[in-house]
Symmetry: C2
Subunit: 355 residues, 2 copies
């Protein structure tokens, strides 16, 4: 294996000293980049892009060619697992993801298979191997999966939802069935992430996009408990290195203490949480990733730099911070604004890493 | 003025002893009730309903005739103020509210008038007076307004928004212009709520529906600071009684301490915040209103009762809790499930009020 030329991201996840604060952006390979739109048009649909290891690799590397990012993230989708369970994922133009089959009864849940990652999701592992090889040690590669609760919402609703009424009705009406579904998903995500690690992912992130839609009690029981199962089952050392795990519950700012207690290396934060307050709350337990409001990228570069400076200041001195947006970058952002953001992180953070 | 026959709601807001926990529902006069849909059809459009004091009064009282609710809330809309500022509010079927005029430049903001509540929003005050008279002391009447930040988002976006990109871009690009807009809105809301109090509202709630979309720093500067201005300017005693103020920032669970420090009597909580933890955090400063996830009403009555019991238990003994949903009741809820919810609150809460 090639040695890493830039390991800032992995060092910061382990709270080791760095020269400047590392930065990457959720959805950094995405529609705001014209080169991404061209690759996607060439691939066909969104899933064709995910399933073609060469083009998935190409779009993964595009933002790295434009900006001095400190990590690459596998180009894929969180819904590959339900698709491999037989739900038939598809995307309609202008709409969110949809499933041909909906899973909303105990019987349907019972019948769900647990996918074998190399057999049923081999295209993802091929993409990981291809990207890792092409990266050639430039920066670390992040693998990822959706959280069980987040995946369950799409499977029960049949797609995106505003208020998760079907999934929450199932949770409250038939908690046993919901637990069965979440347990199957936790098993599936664990082996899926482990396969990504064996294929070359050097850190993994669990995206709990919809955990923040739950009550505090339901979050603990139906989302965090299953992420804990995953964390317990993950390969934590590979290629002679720690494989850090990042847990990101969007809207989870109230629950940072219990998220940190799962034993992950880092928590992802959205922008509602003050980074300095979050650091005090979790102490030395975990590193923190975040937390700029992605809509700041609609403002002018001077305003973007000001906000980057404010966030760096709120974290303060020392390692353990990975700069990121609090959610994915949106298609309408100007590429030059993303560049201003990334440069500002490196330029303004050196003074916080002088010892 | 007629004496109040049921003052549980006002007593709980002041942390005074009650026999059972009072309960009302945000949007309790709404589309889930067939009698509401009939009244609305008779009125014409949604704004025709708001502007017709007799029908507004009729729909305000409908849920009280069905359920033993402990408060009535004025039937109106938070966007009456921008409408009175000349923006031309309208509703398209199946879409959210829209404005004919968008306010997104310093010039447009400068030109905005501050409405005179009795002159420009007389229809709201007529509705308050009519409802108060018809209530005849049955339960207290709640008046309300949107928070300056929440109103500003609609005015800058021209309607609803998923990510508030235009309003946030203005906030970061030209904070001075945003402050001017928020200051005008704070002045307008203050005199609007005071006029409602003089017309008969016995408590008022400030709906900060979109404060939770902001970063912690931006929330303090662009939302909470202007709600503080309003609170400072409100009539706090009327008809020989305290007029309690309820501050509700949806998604504001991280900021309860600073919300409580504004000097309001109560905070509204969405469902992400554990009620017992919230009570510890705010101490004796304020009463707490909330906090059941409204989607629980899609579950069966037994599940609804279980969740009501869990929330009552998390608050524990003593006064200072007003039961409510963490957000408005949705049109698809079965009226009998709302009834099961309200009865459960009264039936299960007596044991927490025995001293």
């Amino acid at each position: 294996m090639t040695a890493l030329k830039n390991d800032r991201f992995l060092r910061a996840l382990l709270k080791q000293p760095v020269d400047v604060t590392p930065v990457w952006m959720m959805r950094q390979a995405g529609r705001y980049l014209p080169e991404y739109r061209a690759s996607r048009a060439r691939a066909g649909g969104f899933m064709d892009l995910c399933m073609n290891a060469e083009i998935a690799c190409e779009v993964t590397l595009q933002p790295l060619d434009r900006y001095p990012l400190d990590a690459a993230i596998l180009f894929s989708d969180i819904l590959t697992i339900p698709d491999a369970m037989g739900l038939g994922l598809y995307f309609e133009t202008g709409e969110g993801p949809r499933f041909r089959k909906v899973v909303d009864t105990a019987e349907a849940i019972e019948a769900l298979p647990i996918p074998d990652p190399e057999k049923d999701l081999g295209y993802v592992m091929n993409a990981v191997r291809t990207i890792r090889k092409e990266l050639n040690g430039r920066v670390p590669l992040i693998g990822f999966a959706g959280s069980p609760w987040t995946l369950a919402t799409y499977m029960v609703e049949g797609g995106s939802s505003k208020d998760f009424r079907k999934s929450k009705a199932l949770l409250y009406d038939d908690p046993k069935a919901m637990h069965m579904l979440l347990d199957k998903l936790a098993q599936s995500v664990t082996s899926y992430l482990n396969a990504q690690i064996l294929a070359g992912a050097q850190a993994v992130q669990i995206f709990d996009s919809w955990g923040g839609s739950l009550s505090s009690a339901a979050y603990q029981e139906f989302s965090l408990a299953y992420m804990q199962k995953i964390v317990n089952g993950l390969i934590r050392e590979h290629e002679g290195r720690r494989v850090p795990v990042i847990l990101f519950t969007k809207g989870g700012g109230l629950w940072l203490e219990s998220m940190a207690a799962t034993g992950v290396e880092a928590l992802g934060l959205d922008w509602t949480c003050d980074l300095g307050v979050a650091r005090q709350r979790v102490g030395d337990k975990v590193a923190l990733q975040g937390n700029m409001d992605p809509t700041v990228l609609y403002a002018n570069p001077a305003a973007i730099e000001k906000e980057v400076g404010r966030i760096l200041e709120s974290y303060g001195n020392g390692p353990g911070h990975i700069f990121n947006l609090g959610h994915g970058i949106t298609p309408e952002v100007k590429p030059e604004n993303a560049g201003a953001f990334i440069n500002a992180v490196h330029d303004l953070s050196a003074k916080y890493h002088q010892d």
